[in-house]
């Protein structure tokens, strides 16, 4: 249980709230940014830092050896899958002609395209 006389618990609670703030802000980013690629960048903050902060906060509140191992595995798996997932989304978006916002200058990938080939 959360015990506010225990400094580790206070730090843990602060980390969890920081993580929540990061999640909330990246949700605002999803709404405000103009295209798929910028939105994927915004979600990157919640998938990486946001989830890691919440897991570390929970670990501090309920610390034990097995929980430490679980937390390390959870953070590593989260970082790996979020990176691979972002790349898969961005690449399939590009191949399916989801154009980058007009402010994307230069777009040096566009210039390598064969336009008579269905992409």
């Amino acid at each position: 249980m959360l015990d506010l006389t225990n400094p580790a618990h206070i730090v843990g609670a602060v980390l969890i709230f920081l993580g929540l703030a990061v999640l909330l802000i990246s949700a605002i980013g999803l709404y405000r940014l103009p295209d798929l690629y910028l939105r994927a960048s915004a979600v990157g903050t919640s998938a990486g830092l946001g989830v890691a902060l919440i897991v570390i906060g929970a670990l501090l509140i309920d610390f034990s050896g097995p929980n430490l191992v679980k937390a390390i595995i959870a953070v590593l798996a989260q970082l790996l899958t979020s990176a691979v997932g972002s790349m898969a989304i961005a690449r399939s978006g590009y191949l399916h002609d989801s154009p980058p916002a007009a402010i994307t200058i230069p777009d040096e990938l566009r210039e390598t395209r064969r336009d008579d080939v269905e992409v």
Binding site: L33, S41, M87, T104, L109, T112
Partner: protein
Amino acid sequence: MNSWLTWPVRMIGFLLWYAKEFLLANLQVTADILRPSARMRTDPAIVAVPAASRTASEYTLISSLITLTPGTLTITYSRDHAVLYVHGMFAASRDGLAEEIQEMEDRLLRAMRREPGDLSRPLARPTVRPAEDAAAGAGDASAGTAESENTENDAGRPAGGDA
């Protein structure tokens, strides 16, 4: 032998540097989302960055690390042309973004390889053109001065569009 002994130290050094970059990039993206629209500094670009990576595992690692850093996103890469295609959220200048990516790649390769080998590569955009153009005008250096060197490197290989 010596390079095996220093490997853990070099990897830890790289991870610490990466953790710092990761936190700074998170702050930068988070701060920009909260700015009013008129003052948002978002200035995206998709840049073809010449890469020093060689093996598939090196490309996998550097692409994942680039994507994991908020604000930069690897869309695809070409091992044939040694190019990473990176979407950057704050690319005020094309070369600035390409330099950042190359610095991260330099540090990663120095940490993970036994011998870093030759890490030199150009900063400018490599000449990569759609397959039929390349067949029609191989070696045609119409694209600019800094790129003639790349045209030569690519001439002997089957060129293909990377998109």
